[in-house]
Amino acid sequence: MVNVYENVSENKFKSTLTVGLFIGFITVAVYLISYSFNLDSSFLVIALIFSLTMSGATYFWGDKMVLALNGAKPAKREDYFDFYTVTQNLSMADQIPMPKIYVIDSPALNAFATGRDPHHAVVCATTGLLRKLNRSELEAVIAHELSHVKNFDTRLLMMVSLLIGSLSILTNIAIQNSFFGGRRGRDSRGEGNLGAVMMILGLLLAVFAPFIAKLIQLAVSRRREYLADASGVKLTRQPQSLIDALQKISGDPNILSEASPATASLYINNPFKGKSLSSLFSTHPPIEDRIRVLKNML
């Protein structure tokens, strides 16, 4: 029997490991690509300025971009009493400032959190979710989202999506560069076997990097779903409410049409359920598995 506290620490360890693997992969991939395509320094400077601007913009305005992409509106206390007060209570218990709360007008049942740190956090729920869940189920869902905020999952996810986006842009530019005169300087480096191998490896990476990076990103976010479930339950001490909420959410046929693929991993449940995505590419662990883990905490 695994208790809540053991689950939290085990999940934290595994999450750190996955993040480490991810960072390692990105470093090696960028090195190999720039080596095999022989990118000149002006290209590197442009790439650097571009990526710095992009990271800055994502860091400071990522939450606003996500809200705008999903068509979210601020939620007032008088209109959404339970949502507002539950968020207020749980952030008090979690020792974080109360996040800004938003609603998406949609019959689908879903919720997400974003923002760079607990002081700039946003929690967003669909109107369908607020209608169908009772107070304690809503509490379980919000506790899950606040755990994402407190564990800095929201920042990580924001930055990771940016990294992956930039990596695929970089790869595209690198490929174009190699076709249109990027090979200029290759002779000076010699044409040993090693060079050829690196070239092939670089090409392979250039083709597969976006896919591999995407897979790792999904692994990171799946790991974090279990962790957020565990810490959310640690906050409410009611695993049953989260089980009930997840069952209601998974049993609902509505699909969130406002969700964009870029923000899918932020939600409490995969917003694209029902569309045929293989389980390997799913941003979330199957709900049955999450419920099984939660039942061990009862």
Partner: protein
């Protein structure tokens, strides 16, 4: 050799500073959560008379409810003033009893059900009850963290140096009937539906 010793000394000094700051932060947070408990109790005490006023018209014959409401109000007042854990417990019990009786009444009486004023106030009261529960739990968690830090190694070596004493948190009186379980309490509750 001298550098290694120096490095160790610097490391220990930094550790002690970190330990001191952590415990001081916890002390402030514990005070804040105690304050929060008081705030929520006061808010409850203010809400109950409003609830009484709003249901007066509908509940002329429900003397029990009024008695329970007055009782809850008194207990919340006492708890707000004394801030003693057993008083807070009693106040919470009284409030949840009133809430569940009111809930039954509201469900059986369409006239009250239609009154948004009553349901708003009940929601508010339920919310303060939740807030009180979370404030108490925060206090308990923080006190536990603090107390663990000062009695485990290496904290136990420095705690007395700075005069850190165990936090009482919400002490539930030991002895008496608080930590006893009577045979009827171990049985499953029987629910009768007529």
């Amino acid at each position: 050799m001298i550098y290694i010793v120096l490095a160790i000394i610097v490391g220990v000094v930094f550790y002690i500073l970190g330990f001191y700051n952590k415990l001081k932060t916890l002390e402030v947070q514990i005070q804040a959560s105690l304050q929060e408990i008081g705030n929520q109790l006061k808010r409850q005490a203010n809400l109950i008379p409003n609830l009484v006023d709003s249901v007066k018209g509908y509940l002329k014959h429900e003397k029990d409810i009024f008695k329970m409401l007055t009782d809850a109000r008194t207990k919340v007042d006492q708890a707000a003033q004394s801030r003693r854990p057993e008083k807070i417990d009693q106040a919470q019990d009284a409030v949840s009893k009133v809430l569940s009786s009111l809930q039954i009444l509201v469900e059986s009486n369409p006239q009250i059900q239609a009154s948004s004023l009553v349901s708003n106030l009940m929601n508010e009261l339920r919310d303060t009850a939740d807030k009180l529960m979370y404030a108490r739990r925060t206090l308990i968690d923080l006190s536990a963290e603090y107390n663990t830090a000062i009695i485990t190694i290496p904290g136990v070596w420095f705690a007395s140096l700075f005069g850190f004493k165990p936090q009482k948190g919400l002490v539930i009186p030991t002895g008496g009937t608080f930590n006893e379980v009577t045979p009827p309490e171990t049985e499953n509750p029987k629910v009768k539906l007529d």
